[in-house]
């Protein structure tokens, strides 16, 4: 069975992505990152999703936070959704670059051929490290920067959500019986989802467009 490292945040997209990797028949090695998020809720959700699937090969990697984002710095407020197309204050510098770097190292150690990452460039917050041009550039860099790449056996990135709308992601997750009731998307990380941050607004819009009911609770 082919091995795949899967980045799992505990959110809707990465959980949909995990369900796709499992459906494809990969032996999955999910990893989550503890990067001093505002709340540990994400990691709790990730663990529940791992338990739901009864996955044994799970790792939480603790990484130092370099700061400078409303998602990691408690002195900055998470803004409500404003429809603005510029890169918001919730951008975490180099987040996916760092996550994928670890994933590449881990894949090389495991002998895994694939890395799944649930980035999406349609219904998203405008982060540069979620776009196809970033994924392609990262793969090109990994191909020349790793032993495997230089030996002609590169690690490939799988981004099955990248061109899907949020509604399409939700529909696919439902078809795969992904445990969306265990996911969390809210940037604010309270007991219930706030319903007004970028992430909640995109999620709710997606469920509405998909004609499905979001199983999580909102304030």
């Amino acid at each position: 069975m082919k091995k795949a490292v899967v980045l799992l945040s505990g959110g809707l997209d990465s959980t949909a992505c995990l369900s796709m990797a499992l459906k494809e028949g990969y032996e999955v090695y999910p990893i989550s990152f503890d990067y001093s998020q505002r709340h540990n809720k994400e990691l709790d959700h990730a663990k529940r999703i791992i338990d739901y699937y009864d996955i044994k090969n799970y790792r939480i990697i603790k990484i130092e936070n370099v700061g400078g984002s409303a998602l990691t710095d408690t002195e900055l407020d998470v803004p409500d959704f404003d429809g603005n197309s510029s890169i918001p204050i919730t951008y975490v510098p180099a987040r996916n670059i760092i996550f994928l770097s670890y994933a590449v190292g881990y894949a090389e150690v495991l002998g895994a051929d694939f890395i799944y990452i649930g980035v999406n460039a349609v219904d998203y917050s405008g982060y540069p490290d979620c776009r196809p041009e970033f994924i392609n550039a990262f793969e090109a860099m990994s191909n020349v920067g790793t032993k495997r790449g230089t030996l002609g056996n590169p690690i490939k990135l799988k981004t099955p959500l990248i061109h899907l709308t949020k509604a399409e992601i939700i529909k696919a997750a439902f078809e795969n019986d992904a445990p969306l009731h265990l996911t969390t998307s809210c940037y604010k990380g309270g007991g219930k989802a706030c319903g007004v941050c970028d992430s909640c607004v995109l999620r709710l819009k997606g469920f509405k467009e998909a004609g499905l009911v979001d199983p999580i609770e909102y304030e």
Copy 2:
């Protein structure tokens, strides 16, 4: 004064690189990584070098080790130099990819325009992540994966050693009064340098070719 993040391992090359960044007049922000090296000696040397220069903005970033290298896994032996051109067991998967990813995030937070990394593709151990094609690919990836890059103000990588021989690096370091007596290069990390691992052999050959005396002690 322009800011530059400088990767500092405590070795000869990164110390030469730091001396060059200082000579160029940058306000330097050196960073070292604690990645479960076989020995903490490297970090002790890095700290002494920081003290020598009386640098205030220094950070040690602790990162999790993904394993699979003789430099981090104590169950694997560090081999002696064998002149073999293949990638050796001391290769650490994705090491410079992970280091540079943090450096990019840190540079973005600091507002630093440059990252100095003392990679060398002449007298080196054959690691893929020390070659110009890797550096160019990393910079291209960073340009599309960061907020700064997409706003047309990318972070640039400086690799002043990349095309120098070890002798040329040593001569340049001497000219800059770099504290080479405080550096460590041996992969084995004992009290004195072993003189027989890849790294020691390359260092000794460099001093010999430069017509200079290595100020550190060997077994």
